[in-house]
């Protein structure tokens, strides 16, 4: 039996002014990447505190991406 491939769920905190805009640009440029990320827009990566990152892991995230 083939092993089921591991598909991680990644929570991405993206700063509205840079990383989120970059993710939009990836879309406009049709750059393809795996659909494992769930993005949360923040107004600045400074908003992302340790509590939020820990919360994500606590709830079962396999990875957290902070882009800013």
């Amino acid at each position: 039996m083939a092993e089921e491939q591991f598909e991680p769920t990644i929570i991405g905190f993206l700063c509205n002014w840079c990383a989120y805009a970059g993710a939009d640009l990836a879309g406009v440029s049709r750059l393809q990447y795996p659909p494992n990320m769930r993005t949360i827009r923040t107004l600045c990566s400074a908003t992302v505190g340790p509590h939020q990152i820990l919360k994500a892991f606590q709830k079962g995230a396999d990875g957290v991406f902070v882009g800013g």
């Binding site: 640009l25 406009v28 440029s29 750059l31």
Partner: protein, 415 residues
């Protein structure tokens, strides 16, 4: 740019040209030609379905022909206004042929092959000329081989190669390799054709070629030994005697970014004076040498040759070592001069503003934003080579002069 596009008080007339101009400070009349886009901008949502399906490929000017665009296109992804445009010279329908694919796939019904150029008349108190510059055409310097040697490129081509949104997605693939890869894709067909027509010599030749190209693309895929040549067309009596101001820093920046992409990159910057006059520039230059392995060589390149593997070889006098040196590189990037924009002479005639001997808009050192016509101001590279921070600052300055006119009806034109 997004802010300008969305600003309620800014009316962007892109893809437009000034046709007629008259009047005086406080009361200028401007006739603007809005060129037909063959797309209704009020309907187009810039979804891009049209460009995806359009069958006509055209070399992409924005990426200097390093890749292709379609006949219905947007200059680049983030462009404002966010509207597609049909290039009438390449669209089959507009050229009288059959196609109509874009109109068919456009669910917003924005495509209009019958659209005509239109004219807009404006009545304004003041005008700002910010027409920018033109990249110096390096084919004028035959000894540098630009346009002939594939791995000798301009500073802006380098910019596109380094861009994540560019033709190579930011990977520094050698332009010769880009060509080889294209040719490699064609070859199997040609080999089959030769097979069919029972031409073994031709087949052999093509197979040899394929083998060589395969080897070459493998061996020289990524450019990691880079030469940056400063003052290409500037500080040169044959072309522009002025200094283009921003190129030294531009080359240093490109070299540092290339190193960020590929840590084995080695860059040599050939210069006359390294002009690092802006805030933080000298520090950046020093960091480039310390952290990014940039080597600065004082010497002007006399000639660029090429070896049999398409590696550019530069010859120069190292003035600090007092000897003539030849150096083989993977790629050479020219720091093209900032030339006056081609349309500036026409605009200056229409507006009646004076140009200096180089073709930039003339200004006085004590009135740096004022042209020779009261109420018409200028900023950015239209008035001479200038880097980004100074250009942004100048834009605000020109806006201040314009505001003085608007808010006082042109009475208080002081400073």
């Amino acid at each position: 740019m997004l802010d300008v596009g969305r600003h309620p008080k800014v009316n962007v007339l892109a893809y437009s040209e000034i046709r007629e101009f008259s009047g005086q400070i406080g009361d200028f009349k401007v006739k603007v030609l809005k060129k037909a886009r063959y797309v209704d901008p009020s309907r187009c949502t810039a979804c891009g379905a049209c460009a995806e399906k359009c069958p006509t490929k055209v070399p992409n000017e924005f990426n200097f022909g390093l890749d292709d665009r379609k006949a219905i296109y947007k200059d680049y992804a983030q462009g404002i206004p966010s509207v597609y445009t049909i290039d009438p010279n390449n669209c089959k329908v507009i050229q009288g042929g059959k196609c109509g694919v874009c109109a068919k796939v456009c669910q917003a019904k924005a495509v209009d092959y019958e659209q005509k150029d239109s004219e807009v008349e404006l009545n304004v108190a003041t005008v700002i000329v910010s027409t920018g510059y033109e990249l110096f055409d390096a084919t004028q310097i035959p000894e540098y081989g630009y346009g002939k040697l594939p791995n000798v490129i301009s500073s802006l081509e380098m910019e596109r190669l380094l861009s994540a949104g560019g033709p190579t997605k930011g990977h520094l693939t050698r332009p010769s390799t880009i060509r080889f890869e294209k040719r490699l894709k064609e070859l199997p067909k040609l080999i089959k054709k030769a097979e069919k027509s029972e031409d073994p010599t031709e087949k052999n030749k093509l197979e040899e070629e394929a083998k060589w190209l395969e080897e070459q693309t493998h061996k020289h895929h990524t450019a990691t030994k880079l030469g940056f040549i400063q003052c290409v067309g500037s500080r040169d009596f044959r072309f522009h005697k002025y200094c283009s101001s921003y190129c030294c820093m531009h080359s240093i920046k490109e070299a540092i970014i290339a190193r960020e992409h590929e840590s084995s990159t080695e860059s040599f910057i050939f210069y006359m004076d390294l002009r690092t006059v802006g805030k933080g520039f000298e520090e950046y230059k020093v960091r480039g040498a310390k952290v990014s392995g940039l080597k600065y060589i004082r010497g002007r390149i006399a000639e660029i040759m090429q070896d049999e593997e398409y590696n550019p070889v530069v010859y120069y006098e190292d003035t600090e070592q007092r000897k003539v040196v030849g150096m083989s590189l993977d790629m050479v990037i020219l720091a093209n001069a900032c030339s006056p924009s081609k349309g500036i002479s026409q605009i200056s005639t229409l507006l009646g503003i004076e140009l200096d001997e180089n073709g930039f808009v003339s200004t006085h050192p004590n009135k740096p934003l004022d042209t020779s016509v009261p109420g018409i101001f200028t900023c950015g590279c239209a008035q001479g080579p200038i880097d980004i921070p100074e250009s942004v600052a100048q834009a605000s300055s020109a806006a201040a002069r314009a505001a003085e006119v608007v808010m006082t009806g042109g009475l208080a034109l002081a400073v």
